[in-house]
């Protein structure tokens, strides 16, 4: 056996100095040669750990083998058997914690770049106009409503449509895609790619109705009169704030608002687009997850002179993906680790001007297994700012839990659903994604959509709950 190169084939990227001046995608993706080279690193394990690490169970060794043979067409076919959104997953899945973590190479060197190869195969298919719509099973005459067009809803809908059921997605915003459209910035996930993959789901026969708020325009109970089953994938919407003094000052955003204005409403093109955003000179982002990195990097692209992440633990505990942290560092985002905001000070006319923070040290591990941050007494200091983005998480969207009798709700406002089926406590109603688990990742939501689709198909055939 030829010796395997220790490192992944690197992916070329936009230069950090150039990319902070535009919203274009940062990594360029593999060329055919690069992809083949990387694919050849795969050892084609008999018992592949990577597949077990993939929430949607893609036959990873098989698709990589096809890439190594330059049979790109069949590579993407294998992926699409399990994943209707490969160009998205190839870009935003936390592969290092999933498939790539289980790669046998990972024990001694860098794992196979499964995510990059998935992205390559999906982009190759689209760029060569070879997207094929798989044959559909004959119509079952059953109708299913999907609430929310984010990753969970799209996968659920795509799967059920292929099984011959009639599927209608209801989306509250004016564009489908959920967090893929409003949340993840263009430079990390171009909206044209999201639109391309949603188009594929539509071609599978899924109908999407936008600007329709289930829970308000119609309730789940009303949908159940027209549909044989309903899937709820409404995500984690309601943003958390820290409830510290001064948080109502102007210039303090939730991450959701900051990102919705930028991504969905294209505020970076104001006044060509009507939705404005405050283009702060000194921006601070509170939090350490992927959303915080997205906001901090967005701030730079909106022209900030300084963009600072304020995080209460250290770099090691940050929940963001390593790749996102590295990209942020390369772009010049500053980090104030072990730092907790305690109050905001404003100008006379109500704009935020300073954050008062305290320094922290790490104590014993807490329930999350991470070392608990403890305030260091008398360590107050202030950070001058004119824009703050609070990116500390969000709770499940409350609209459906509030308007659907018979649906059991957890103590965090989440919908209770069986992990193995997505079944809720209400007959005919399935749920999955962040509305069940609280804010998590795109791929976990997709996995939940897949599980629920399987159970829903079973239910539609048997009517057994």
């Amino acid at each position: 056996m030829a010796k395997v190169s220790e490192k992944k084939v690197p992916m070329r990227e936009q230069d950090p100095k150039a990319r902070i001046k535009n919203f274009q995608e940062v990594p360029f993706g593999y060329t055919e040669e690069e992809a083949v080279l990387e694919a050849k690193r795969c050892l084609q394990c008999k018992k592949p750990g990577c597949v077990k690490g993939c929430p949607v169970e893609i036959d990873i060794p098989a698709f990589i083998a096809r890439i190594a043979e330059r049979d790109f067409k069949n590579a993407i076919k294998i992926i699409k058997k399990k994943n209707v959104l490969p160009a998205i997953c190839g870009r935003v899945c936390p592969q290092e914690d999933q498939c790539e973590k289980e790669c046998v190479l990972a024990k001694k060197m860098e794992p196979v770049a499964i995510g990059r190869l998935e992205r390559f195969a999906a982009d190759w298919e689209a760029e060569n106009n070879l997207v094929e719509i798989p044959p559909k099973q004959p119509s079952t005459g059953k109708r299913v409503a999907v609430v929310g067009s984010g990753p969970a809803g799209l996968v659920f809908a795509g799967d059920l449509a292929q099984l011959g059921h009639e599927v209608v997605i209801f989306e509250a915003l004016h564009k489908p895609g959920g967090v893929l459209i409003y949340g993840i910035p263009e430079f990390r996930l171009p909206k044209a790619i999201v639109e391309r993959e949603i188009e594929y789901v539509k071609q599978l026969g899924v109908k999407i109705i936008t600007s329709f708020v289930v829970g308000q325009t119609k309730t789940v109970d009303e949908l159940l009169q027209e549909f044989d089953a309903v899937f709820i994938g409404t995500g984690a919407g309601l943003p958390w704030f820290m409830n510290i003094p001064g948080e109502h000052l102007n210039g303090i955003y939730s991450a959701n608002e900051y990102l919705v204005r930028t991504n969905l409403m294209k505020a970076y093109l104001f006044p060509e687009y009507d939705t404005p955003i405050v283009r702060g000179r000194r921006v601070a982002v509170i939090g350490g997850g992927n959303v915080a990195m997205d906001a901090a990097r967005t701030a730079l692209r909106l022209g900030a002179e300084t963009s600072t992440i304020v995080y209460r633990r250290s770099r090691k505990e940050m929940p963001a993906r390593e790749e996102e942290i590295v990209h942020a560092e390369e772009e010049g985002v500053r980090f104030e680790f072990l730092t907790l905001p305690v109050r905001y000070y404003g100008t006379e006319d109500g704009w935020v001007k300073e954050i008062e923070c305290v320094r922290m040290e790490l104590g014993e591990p807490d329930a999350s297994g991470r070392r608990r941050p403890i305030v260091i007494p008398n360590s107050e200091f202030r950070i001058p700012v004119d824009t703050v983005v609070v990116a500390i998480g969000q709770s499940p969207n409350p609209l459906i839990p509030k308007t659907t009798p018979g649906l059991e709700i957890g103590k965090h406002g989440n919908i209770m659903a069986d992990e193995k089926t997505g079944k809720t406590t209400k007959k005919g109603v399935f749920a999955g994604g962040d509305i069940v688990t609280g804010a998590a990742t795109v791929i976990l939501a997709m996995g939940a959509g897949r599980i629920a689709a399987r159970a829903c198909d079973e239910y539609l055939k048997t009517n057994i709950w």
Binding site: Y182, G237, Y253, V260, P271, D274, T275, P276, D349, P398
Partner: protein, 282 residues
Amino acid sequence: MFKILSTKALAPNIKCFEFEAPYIAQKAQPGQFVVVRINETGERIPLTIADTKKDQGVVIIVFQEVGKTTKLLGTLKAGDYVLDLLGPLGKPSEIKYYGTVVCIGGGVGTPEIYPIARALKEIGNKVVTIIGARTKELLIMVEEMRSVSDELYITTDDGSYGTKGLVTDELKRLISQGIKIDKVFAVGPVIMMKAVSETTRPYNIPTVVSLNPIMLDATGMCGVCRVEVGGETKFACVDGPEFDGHQVNFDTLMMRLKTYLKEERVSLELFEKQSHKCCGGQ
């Protein structure tokens, strides 16, 4: 795409549009609102539902032309379309038997208080209405309000119609007469709702106000419409828009409404320049 069925000017810069929106019409209740997005580059703005014709699938919206988006909306005609109309949003008003209810509408708040007053009247409340405007020509929906009120009082700032003064002057007069008021609903400019709440506070008259913060998605996602109520952070789009006026921090609301003043001016100037161009640079 949502079709505009008819348009009507009620007063200078105040227009009434009928939209074809059967789902929303079917569902809408007093106190609720819609979000409108006119075109692809447009922003999402919340507008209160003034009335519906449920059997015809019609939603009626009264709006004041203040910024770019409302001015652009005002240029549309019957037969035109807006790209998105989302709703009904927010919680409906709590319509039940209170006894004597005073409904107060200020300016363009009048069409918003109208469906509330009508619903309160329909279930047997004694409805006393006070509507106010800066001047006579800005008074709207007077006859409609009269038709759903047991008593109607009108104020204008300049005295050109009704009593000269503010709606709160009329409210104070009613209170001083010793009439038992069981509930007050007030919709209008923030400063007016604040004044009404301060007027009723010493008498412990339960007072409901309908807040109008900046909104974006209006479905409980972005958090821009957060308001401080009783010391807690609430989201007007899903927890409101109506709140206990005695608990609302109006000062932070007023401050936050000014967030985009600068950008709003830029948008409006650009719009006016462009609309002058299309009528031959006049």
